[in-house]
Amino acid sequence: MAEEKRTRSPRKKPDRIPRQEMPVRSAQDRIQDFEEVALGFDAVLAQKEAQRCLQCPKQPCVDGCPVSVDITGFIHLITEGDFIGAARKIKETNLLPAVCGRVCPQEEQCEQVCVVGKIDEPVAIGRLERFVADYERNQGTVVLPEVAPPSGKKVAIIGSGPAGITVSYELLQAGHKVTIFEALHELGGVLIYGIPEFRLPKKIVAAEIDTIKKLGAEIKLNMLIGKTRTIDQLMNDDGFDAVFIGTGSGLPMFLKLPGENLNGISSANEFLTRVNLMKAYREEYATPVKVGKKVAVFGAGNVAMDAARSAKRVGGDDTEVSIVYRRARDQMPAREEEIHHAEEEGIIFNLLTNPIRFIGDENNHVKEIECVKMELGEPDDSGRRRPITIKGSEHLVEADTVIVALGTMPRKFIAETSPDIKTSNWGTFLVDEESGETSKKGVFAGGDIVTGSATVIQAMGAGRVAAKAIKEYLAEN
């Protein structure tokens, strides 16, 4: 039958250009430092890859993008060699293309629905986005978007992560005054304290965020809303016409197991903040970070991969780093690319393993973890097969450093001081899906504070929804 089919279609398919691989540094080389792992396309690779795009009129990729980037449009400009035009095309709806080109899970979004992907590997949209954004920045040709005349309205943006930055960008362009309140000493939220330098260089984040400053946003660092000022004070005393809350999901969750407060055990948030925000890996910075010889990272999401790979870099060649996860490899929530990079860098995957308790030495420092082996049972609510403890499988795992990367929850500063904003039992803010408006008039929210831990691009998508609604609200009020 197969034989027959082949003889019946003798027409030779045209030579398809394969998906272009992006150059990356070798694992041995890159674990010596915090410099970026991926090197990005050059112009030749980018144009070759861009030619793979079919320029479908239906553009399913654009629908697959939470911020509706004109993907076929920018890729077309690449084929014409207009890289700067391509970057500006993306920036019509996305201020952070160099960031998104690096950290977006394109395989679940634009690239997942790419028509080329139905017969071959999809167009490498993320790599192309990254290339044009880097090109524009490196050429020093970043231009500011046009700004509408001043509206006389001012909006407070709480939190300077992806959601807050996106809302600021949109509102500034519409002529509204924007003041950003950030609790930490740098802008960027998770892009600064969470995602490591080797995956997202901080000077790239700063360069993209810089546009907000150039467009005239007022920046107030070291302002923890709910403590330094309240939402009511901002609206009643400081004259803000609307407020956007993008405070994210910052409170780290722990395993709640005996011995978890031993020395040597920290949250991924703490470990990554020491390394990324406080730059503990650089000698001239005073903040310490400790990594022993046997590191166990609990969790299997992108944050766990970031923590494991950072620990490997801080600890050096003789540090052994393991990911300990209660389910199997296929069920790990991290991006395939991150898992692959971690494997290349020598991270050990200790799967179907669950901790029961932590055991300390005489100095109250962790030395071992008692674990059990798991097997997969029937699917649970999440659709993934439920891990079940194998009886009698208790065993000890040696570890002098433990990093817990189980996810985060919203913090309560605003909820506690603004009880008129309705929240869920989890502490996330309840908002109107179409507008992002909370139960408090003129107060909008988006990003992880609404959804719980999610992705950079989802927060940016929520920011765009809220920005549109805030513009409408300001026009009416």
Binding site: T228, N261, H365, R411
Partner: protein
């Protein structure tokens, strides 16, 4: 930049700063703290607010040179500034009328105790303060505490001033003398707070301590300040810094304080070497 308006050395290695931080000065309440970063390469250091002047827009901090980062902070001069001051953080002290309260301060912990004693006095309590230090030279805030206390007992470990002895021993004496005590606040070295907790435990006297935990952001993000309180794990930065003294696991806190000893020692060595090189 948050300008240093004044600097005063109170005792060897103990310095009082007044800093321009108008937003913090406006909203702070007794028991709350700030996180400070001196410059770009510095650590973020949590410090309790001793006093504030909302009109002048200043807050006062008392810093003990006890390691690399606090050493760098105390080297800053009047007219200089700190790069970052974030606050007020933590929950304010629950101020209400208990009756007779005993405030026990040890060493630089007295700086944390002072605004609480003042607040408790304003709330209508009879305030008895035990101001303790290793010796006379290291005693701070005597005058200020005298103003807000109905009775002030000075105690030094070596007897060089006031009564010779520890705060916890003096408190035990007061209990033995059948003095009516409704509430105790103890702030100082962890060992001292633990000792006070053990003194009041058998008599079921409500006692709180203020923990000086290691933290980075101070906003609930890192979880470095975890403390076991009874059966629960709390974050000192958002749930504290004050906790029920009878429920705190002090041994765990003591171990945590020693976690970065090696790194501290390395950094201090560097300061000494740098200073020597400068001299040469």
């Amino acid at each position: 930049m948050y300008k240093i308006v004044s600097k005063e050395v109170l005792a060897p290695k103990i310095t009082r700063f007044s800093i321009e931080a108008p937003e913090v000065a406006k909203s702070r309440k007794p028991g709350q703290f700030v996180v400070i970063r001196a410059d770009e390469t510095s650590e973020r250091v949590p410090l309790t607010i001793v006093d504030s002047d909302p009109k002048k827009g200043t807050i006062d901090l008392i810093i003990q040179d006890a390691g690399f980062s606090t050493h760098c902070l105390t080297c800053c001069e009047e007219g200089d500034g700190f790069l970052d001051v974030l606050g007020p953080l933590g929950r304010p002290t629950d101020m209400h009328k208990y009756g007779t309260v005993v405030c026990v301060g040890g060493g630089v912990g007295t700086a944390v105790l002072y605004p609480i004693a003042k607040g408790l006095k304003e709330a209508g309590n009879t305030v008895v303060t035990i101001n303790g230090a290793r010796n006379k030279e290291l005693l701070i805030l005597e005058e200020e505490l005298a103003k807000v206390s109905d009775e002030l007992i000075i105690a030094t470990d070596d007897g060089s001033y006031g009564v010779k002895g520890f705060g916890s021993t003096i408190l035990q004496g007061m209990i033995d003398d059948k003095k009516k005590i409704d509430f105790v606040v103890a702030i100082g070295p962890t060992m001292m707070m633990k000792a006070v907790a053990e003194v009041t435990r058998p008599y079921d006297i409500e006692t709180i301590v203020s923990l000086n935990a290691i933290m980075i952001d101070g906003t609930g993000m890192c979880g470095g300040c975890r403390v076991t309180v009874g059966d629960e794990v709390k974050f000192a930065c958002v749930d504290g810094p004050e906790f029920d003294a009878h429920l705190v696991d002090f041994e765990e806190q003591i171990a945590k304080h020693h976690y970065y000893d090696e790194e501290q020692a390395c950094q201090m060595d560097k300061i000494i070497t740098d200073a020597e090189q400068e001299r040469a």
